[in-house]
């Protein structure tokens, strides 16, 4: 009996180790360990054994059973690993192939700049306000203290629809609207399209964009103006940017200033772009709101003072991205747009 078992064991282990497919393994399991399997048969014949022999042979038989099961498990594991390895090898792909189906779209650089600027001012407590592109002369010129013989009112400077209605030449009329609607105190910015009678060339476009800001409150000073604009310019162009405030003239502010900013090309070293001055010139115009403008909007100019500033977003976008031709912004060439 013992010999028979040993023989069975040898035979079983050998055939298990030679298995190359999982199904074959299952057949062997049935053959040896199944209900009618050979090992089972041997065990069934144990009744014929003596009382002493029975537990000994039983133990041997069990050991052999465990041994066969282990061998089978091991082979099964190996086979599974082999199949998986084969599958993985077969599924290898060329990972250098690029075949993008869906591309993200792109924001227009100028409009994205406007959104960025608005968000910056929102973080400083400013209200963003919209204003119409078609305006009346009163909001665009009169209430902004523009002298009635000022050349900017000419047909050769401003697009007119009627004698009293025009395409706004700056975003400043939104200041007038805001002061009339909200009064003081007020912190607002407004960005949008503006129009001037300029033929199209590298740096001019009959339609362009401005962003305009206004703060009116008690005891607002030029020192506050400088602080606010400095924060803004550092946020927009970088912490190392310097500003230079030069006295200037605008009809709607008094005193008025123009702001130069460190040249972005050379960061102030001096280069052909900035004409070796180290400054990007005239990036912003600003000043203390003219008392007459406050009065025009029903605000007591003795109690309240304010500052205002405005800048060309097209210019800022061009400076920021190094564009040399403003026409690119309006041409909408897909290859241009996809760079931003």
């Amino acid at each position: 009996m013992r010999e028979k078992l040993q023989e069975l064991r040898e035979l079983a282990i050998n055939s298990i180790n030679n298995v190359i497919e999982l199904t074959e393994l299952e057949n062997l399991r049935v053959k040896y360990l199944g209900k009618k399997g050979e090992l089972t048969q041997v065990l069934k014949g144990m009744g014929k054994l003596s009382e002493e022999e029975r537990p000994v042979i039983g133990q041997v038989a069990n050991e052999i059973r465990v041994e066969i099961e282990e061998a089978m498990n091991k082979v099964k594991e190996n086979l599974k690993n082999k199949t998986l390895t084969e599958k993985l090898t077969k599924e290898k792909i060329d990972i250098t192939v690029t075949n993008r189906v869906k591309k993200l779209g792109h924001r227009h650089p100028l409009l994205a700049t406007i959104e960025e600027l608005e968000d910056l001012f929102i973080s400083m407590g400013f209200k963003v306000l919209p204003g119409p592109e078609i305006e009346n002369v009163k909001n665009n010129f009169d209430d902004l203290n523009s002298p009635d013989n000022h050349p900017s009112r000419d047909l050769s400077d401003t697009f007119y629809i009627t004698e009293d209605i025009l395409l706004r030449t700056h975003t400043s009329p939104v200041q007038i609207r805001a002061m009339k609607e909200y009064g003081a105190p007020l912190r607002m910015v407004s960005a949008g399209r503006t129009f001037r009678f300029d033929d199209v060339d590298d740096t001019h476009s009959p339609m362009f964009h401005q962003i305009e800001g206004l703060v009116v409150d008690e005891k607002i000073s030029m020192a506050n103006l400088k602080y606010t604009l400095d924060v803004f310019i550092k946020e927009l162009f970088g912490k190392d940017m310097k500003t230079r405030y030069r006295p200037h003239h605008f009809p709607f502010t008094e005193p008025s200033a123009e702001v130069d900013v460190t040249c972005l090309s050379c960061r102030g070293e001096g280069c052909p772009v900035c004409n070796y001055t180290g400054w990007s010139m005239e990036l912003l115009g600003c000043g203390m709101v003219h008392p007459q403008v406050l009065e025009n909007c029903g605000i007591d100019s003795e109690k309240y003072t304010g500052f205002a500033f405005g800048m060309g977003v097209d210019r800022i976008t061009m400076v920021k991205y190094g564009l040399k031709d403003i026409r690119l912004l309006f041409d909408n060439d897909n290859r241009f747009l996809e760079q931003f």
Binding site: F121, T162, P206
Partner: protein, 797 residues
């Protein structure tokens, strides 16, 4: 405004370099455009004297000159024709440097030339300032100079000129003295104005002139003097140099003096040949319609009553404040001169100058406004200089018509107000010093600063103007910045702009590029998109003065601009483009407009490439869904001439028309020359804003299993799946979770004109597990309704 630094130094004493002056003036408000060096890189060019002139033996057009340059005598070959023995001329020796060239020993047809005689152009002068007699020839000095002297010293080429951009409120700075005043105030120098004095006067002005008559309110002042025994000739070199440095061409002594004083004081002057004035009388009046005047430039001008003219008793003799007339021009024969120092209404000057496109040194000054008191000072200064250079004898007395004399304004300034507005602490002493340095006579009474504003400061009217003066001399760059104080305010954007930003982000995520186009378009665009003559979109607003037809109408739709840019890209070889624009359209309330129009914001999408109608529809639906607009209804749009009648839908939300999506009509595509299919959507952004809902409420995740049933029905081709879906949704009740179209089949298993449409319908309850029976009941109702309403037949798989 060109400021020759040497000229400036006639009125102030300074050791500062041009750069230092420019920087200081920039920060006090005079914006420097550039510093121009008068030396364009000249080296080794000296004064020489022509000893002899001989014809070249081998060339007709060349002359051999023997030239004495002090240390040596040189043979120089030249082609110039304006030379004679004894002339003093600029000589570039061998090795000399001129702008753009270096002089070497040159063989001219067998004769060696040891240098070159120079014209002013060769020395770097621009054509516009070179005196006419030296336009083509070698420059000849006005008198003897030491031979061998460096030309740069003789012609003042070591000097520099600062170019300023003067703001329109400061016409007083369009003069050397005005800028000297600014310089003095900026650096704390003393301004030394010329002291004007005439040594000898003869006869009386009324011996020569019969008076001045002003017939128009637009002439504020006319101050006049007469010069007799005029000897027309060249002005001295120093004066010519000043003029050329300031950008003015020297002409003759009398004209040069008037130009010199104009530059010096900023008062444009005119000199008439008195012998050519009929009636020897000056009349200032508005022109009569159709009256003619030939101006100094030889052009005949036809005048109208808005033009102010200077006339004699018969004819116009000058376009006031703009340009003199040819007839009374100073010529070599002029013997008696009448000088004009006048003042005119700036508005008329501007109109006249503009009408004739005639911008002169005079008109640019007059149109900005000039102190009327300057007329007298300037004319007196002219007399002084004429006497000084011996160009004529000054006739005694003047004629001055000046009815409303300009008086200094008195303004008060509160020092504490100035400090509050500037955000600084400037002492009262410093304020007084700044104001007084600017010529604004100021004193403090213990409470207020009282300022007497001279008449040349036309820009100062109120306290704020004085605050600006104090501030700019203190230096805006010296103001220490301070954060805003006061109540904290919350920054915010109106919902409409927030939504716009949101849409842009969504569309960017969906692969569209943002574009930007002009608000004005060509009226032809409405023809190009094939709109009918009566289409309401043709009610557009027109500009009075457009830059051209292409920019003449305010757009009522974004579609033409979108088509334009897609066509442009397509024709540049771009294979595929996905674009969108959010922009205004302008809808008049009535035409012609009498009030501001409605500015309606539109969202326009345009795509071409490997795409179809369903993709753009998908994009729009996705976008609107993210804005909280879930169920969009579509209706076939067959009558919009811009769009393909079979491939266009109108969008409705809650019964309201919100826009259109479709393929562009082949005829429109021809108009735009695009040879691919283009899909466009135009949505009314304003309406969409009203329907959006950005608030999100969470729905609990399902606890009970779903049951999915597929259903396929055969319907006629013209039945739209949207109608089938409407029926399914109608019966679905609250247990219907999702309807998904997964197949549309046409083919040999079906009859012509039929299609099979297959849906996967998901049912689920949030309260219990559904039973087969209740789902079957709903399914049966759907099928029955499909059969009866649209004649569908259930298709068995």
């Amino acid at each position: 405004m060109l400021l020759p630094v040497k000229w400036l130094k006639d009125y102030i004493k300074t050791q500062k370099s041009s750069r230092e002056l420019a920087d200081g003036l920039t920060l006090s408000g005079s914006h420097v455009e550039s510093i121009i060096s008068l030396n364009p890189g000249i080296e080794n060019v000296v004064v020489g004297k022509i000893l002899s002139l001989e014809d070249h033996p081998n060339a007709d057009k060349l002359i051999i000159c023997k030239v004495d340059v002090g240390a040596e005598k040189l043979i120089i070959v030249t082609g110039a024709k304006n030379l004679k023995t004894g002339d003093y001329i600029p000589v570039a020796k061998v090795g000399a440097k001129l702008p753009g060239k270096e002089i070497g020993l040159t063989d001219f047809r067998g004769v060696d030339s040891y240098g070159m005689l120079c014209s002013l152009k060769e020395l770097g002068f621009t054509d516009s300032v070179i005196p006419k007699e030296f336009k083509d020839g070698i420059y000849i000095f006005d008198k003897e100079y030491e031979l061998g002297l460096d030309i740069k010293d003789v012609l003042g080429l070591n000097d520099q000129v600062i170019e300023f951009e003067i703001t329109p409120n400061r016409p007083d700075c369009l003069s050397i003295i005005g800028m000297a005043r600014e310089t003095a105030a900026t650096f704390g120098y003393k301004l030394e104005e010329p002291s004007i004095k005439i040594e000898t006067e003869v006869d009386d002005i009324y011996d020569y002139a019969n008076g001045i008559e002003i017939q128009t309110d637009n002439c504020i002042r006319y101050y006049s003097r007469v010069i007799k025994d005029v000897k027309i000739g060249k002005s001295p070199l120093w004066m010519q140099q000043r003029l050329m440095e300031a950008g003015v061409r020297p002409i003759s002594n009398i004209v040069d003096v008037t130009n010199f004083v104009m530059l010096e004081y900023g008062e444009p002057l005119h000199a008439f040949d008195l012998d050519n004035l009929q009636g020897k009388k000056i009349i200032v009046r508005q022109a009569i319609k159709g009256e003619k005047l030939t101006t100094l430039d030889g052009e005949e001008r036809i005048l109208d009553p808005k033009d102010i003219i200077i006339a004699d008793v018969n004819n116009p003799i000058g376009l006031a404040g703009v340009m003199g007339g040819l007839h009374s021009e100073i010529t070599d024969e002029t013997k008696t001169v009448l000088l004009e120092g006048a003042n005119f209404n700036s508005r008329n000057i501007r109109m006249t100058s503009k009408k004739f496109s005639l911008r002169t040194e005079a008109s640019t000054r007059f149109e900005k406004g000039i102190d009327p008191n300057l007329g007298e000072i300037a004319v007196e200064r002219v007399c002084q200089l004429i006497e000084q250079i011996g160009a004529g004898r000054i006739v005694k007395n003047h004629i001055d018509v000046y009815n409303k004399k300009a008086q200094p304004k008195h303004i008060t300034l509160r020092p504490e107000r100035a400090n509050m507005i500037l955000g600084v602490e400037i002492s009262i002493e410093d304020m007084l010093k700044s104001l007084n340095n600017l010529g604004l006579k100021s004193s403090f009474d213990g409470k207020l600063i009282h300022t007497k504003v001279p008449t040349y400061r036309l820009d100062i009217d109120i306290e704020a103007d004085l605050i600006e003066e104090v501030g700019r001399l203190y230096g805006f760059h010296n103001i220490e910045s301070r954060p805003l104080l006061g109540a904290l305010t919350r920054g915010e954007k109106p919902y409409k702009i927030v939504l716009e930003d949101r849409v842009k982000t969504i569309l960017q995520g969906l692969g569209l590029n943002e574009v930007m186009t002009y608000s004005f378009i060509s009226p032809k665009a409405y023809d190009k998109i094939n709109l009918s003559e009566t289409d309401s979109l043709r009610k557009y607003i027109k500009l009075i003065n457009p830059l051209g037809e292409d920019y003449s109408s305010m757009r009522t739709t974004l579609v033409p601009n979108m088509l334009d840019l897609l066509a442009r890209n397509f024709n540049r070889g771009i294979e595929s483009m996905y674009a969108f624009e959010i922009g205004n359209t302008f809808i008049p309330k009535s035409l012609p407009i009498t009030e501001l129009p409605d500015e309606n914001k539109k969202l326009c999408l345009g795509i071409f490439g490997e795409t179809d109608f369903y993709e753009i529809k998908d994009i729009v639906e996705n976008c609107l869904y993210r804005l909280g607009m879930d169920i969009i209804q579509y209706e076939r749009e067959e009558n919009n001439p811009t769009f393909h009648p079979g491939r266009t839908a109108r969008l409705f939300y809650k019964g309201e028309d919100v826009g259109i999506i479709g393929e562009i009509h082949p005829l429109v595509m021809e108009n735009y020359d695009i040879k691919t299919r283009v899909y466009i959507a135009e949505l009314d952004f304003g309406k969409i804003v009203g329907f959006t809902n950005l608030e999100i409420k969470y729905t609990p995740l399902p606890k009970y299993p779903a049951m999915t049933r597929d259903i396929a029905v055969v319907v006629k081709e013209e039945v739209m799946v949207g109608d089938i879906e409407k029926i399914i949704l109608k019966h679905g009740s609250e247990i219907l979770e999702n309807v998904r179209l997964f197949d549309i089949y046409r083919g040999n298993q079906l009859q012509e004109g039929l299609k099979s449409v297959a849906y996967s319908i998901t049912y689920r309850s949030h309260e219990r597990t559904l039973t087969d029976d209740e789902v079957n009941e709903v399914q049966d109702n759907i099928i029955k309704d499909l059969e009866t309403s649209i004649g569908a037949k259930l298709r068995s798989f």
